[in-house]
């Protein structure tokens, strides 16, 4: 019988951008079990949210994650607006969609670049990051900041995208689309990428559902779960269907995200074409009271906020369930059977982990 070895994988690893430790139980080079160890960068933001007032919390939740800061603000604001019965102006709802899809677009570019780098595909990494830079420039031009956008607020949005700037955004998105079209075959049809990722870390539809997978991880296993179909912000007025793949392997997760990058560009275009004139926000009157659950579709999947308010300026409880948190049990299911060399690049990166989201 082969002896078993336990390897503490991480928290510092060249492929992981953030600290995550997995205790891997190995038989020779094959993983037979994995146990996560967390808590290296936990910040206690849920506790801090009880001490700030409900308007300040928008700035706080934006700092949960630097990649999808806007999504956290959006999810929080949608929840507070429901509690307070605030009707957000239509123009603000479309602007929220535009920034949300730009966030998804740059997040998926970041992930694709990291995957390319982890697979040793340096030229793809550079092409993808060059394209991402155009998106970051658009985000900076429209929100004033590259990372923490600060453009969402309770009752609407803080900034407008003027028609002239919108035209420029669409022109730059043409460039993003052009470069994306160039690199897409290099990702999806490239022999090395396919051979390296196909049939590995497979999650069946049934397993994915039972383990609570969300986002591209769920959709790559054939589960049509996309919170945008609920129609929050202005999604109900836009035409799109969730991107689905059936294979459930690492390659399928790559395909889903690459196709979603194209879809995000389309959604920004649709929103820009249909955005009406009007106010950006409405004034907030009173304090929130009651409890609700708010959900948005982050780049990594379903983001859930539970908010309980008691009619004062401070919330009684703010609970944040991020998509990476939901995708850890599926990851623990994918790891057994993998070769150790595939763990970082083919298995773990395929769920696009965001540790700052988990350790909020």
């Amino acid at each position: 019988m082969t002896g078993r070895t336990v390897i503490p994988f991480g928290p510092q690893h060249p492929v992981f951008p953030e600290p995550l430790q997995l205790k891997l139980v190995l038989e020779e080079e094959k993983v037979v079990e994995a146990v996560p160890a967390m808590g290296y960068v936990h910040r206690g933001l849920e506790k801090l949210a009880e001490q700030k007032d409900f308007v300040q919390n928008v700035f706080l939740v934006e700092r949960v994650c630097g990649i999808c800061s806007f999504m956290h603000a959006l999810c929080y604001c949608e929840g507070i607006e429901e509690l307070m019965g605030i009707e957000v102006p239509e123009r603000a709802r479309y602007l929220r969609v535009i920034w949300a899809e730009l966030s998804r677009l740059h997040s998926h570019h970041l992930w694709l670049g990291l995957v390319a780098d982890a697979l040793g595909f340096e030229s793809l990494f550079m092409q993808v990051f060059r394209n991402r830079e155009i998106i970051m420039d658009i985000i900076e031009a429209t929100s004033g900041s590259r990372v923490i956008m600060g453009s969402c607020q309770v009752g609407g949005v803080r900034r407008d995208i003027e028609p002239s700037l919108m035209k420029e955004v669409l022109r730059r998105l043409d460039s993003v689309r052009y470069h994306l079209d160039q690199v897409t075959p290099a990702v999806l049809d490239e022999y090395t990428v396919k051979e390296r990722t196909s049939g590995l870390a497979t999650l069946s539809k049934d397993q994915a559902y039972k383990l609570g997978a969300v986002g591209p991880v769920a959709r790559a296993s054939g589960i049509s779960l996309d919170v945008r179909t609920l129609g929050y912000a202005a999604y109900e007025a836009l035409d799109f269907t969730p991107v689905l793949e059936e294979a459930g392997d690492s390659y399928a997760r790559i395909v889903v995200r690459v196709r979603e990058m194209h879809q995000s560009i389309d959604l920004v275009r649709q929103a820009a074409a249909r955005i009406p004139d009007g106010k950006l926000s409405v004034p907030i009157k009173g304090k929130p009271e009651g409890e609700t659950v708010s959900r948005v579709e982050q780049p990594r999947g379903e983001l859930v906020y539970y908010i309980r308010a008691n009619g004062t300026k401070n919330l009684e409880r703010l609970r944040i369930r991020t998509p990476t948190y939901a995708n850890i049990p599926p990851l623990l299911h994918m790891l057994p059977g993998s070769q150790l060399a595939n763990v970082p690049s083919v298995v773990v990166l395929s769920i696009d982990p965001c540790i700052s989201c988990v350790e909020r």
């Binding site: 039972k210 779960l225 179909t229 609920l230 539970y306 609970r319 369930r321 049990p329």
Partner: protein, 128 residues
């Protein structure tokens, strides 16, 4: 606004089994401190519709873990053990209060009157 079905602790596992059989996905669990102890909310989803269960427990009461039914709940239950001091029976992967926290972390920091320092403070190592 959220409508939650109130259950007694002993009704939780049978209800979780029913939900699992009917295809409900476990979304997350939320622990809220109230005057009499804790409210524990379980959130489920099926085709983007949500169902919520609410269980009220006193401070020292032990809750049955739903991890035998929904394995993915082990993260949220361990988090509640760390931050609120809730105890779960039959937890599939039990970190015993050391999931996010370490030996020198504050005890149950999400409760409203946390003990400022852990009794074992000073060890300074990650004992997992």
């Amino acid at each position: 606004m959220l409508q939650a079905l109130e259950l007694a602790p002993e009704e939780l596992i049978p209800r979780a089994h029913q939900l699992a059989l009917k295809g409900w996905r476990f979304v997350t669990m939320t622990c809220v401190q109230v005057d009499s102890g804790f409210e524990v909310l379980y959130h489920f989803d099926r085709e983007l519709e949500m169902e919520h269960l609410r269980i009220r427990v006193s401070k020292d009461q032990v809750l049955p873990s739903i991890t035998p039914v929904y394995f993915g709940a082990f993260l949220a239950e361990n988090e509640a053990q760390d931050f609120f001091g809730l105890k779960f029976e039959n937890l599939s992967v039990d970190y015993e209060g050391r999931f996010f926290l370490t030996a020198d972390s504050p005890v149950h920091p999400m409760t409203r009157t946390p003990t400022p320092e852990h009794g074992e403070k000073g060890e300074g190592t990650r004992d997992r």
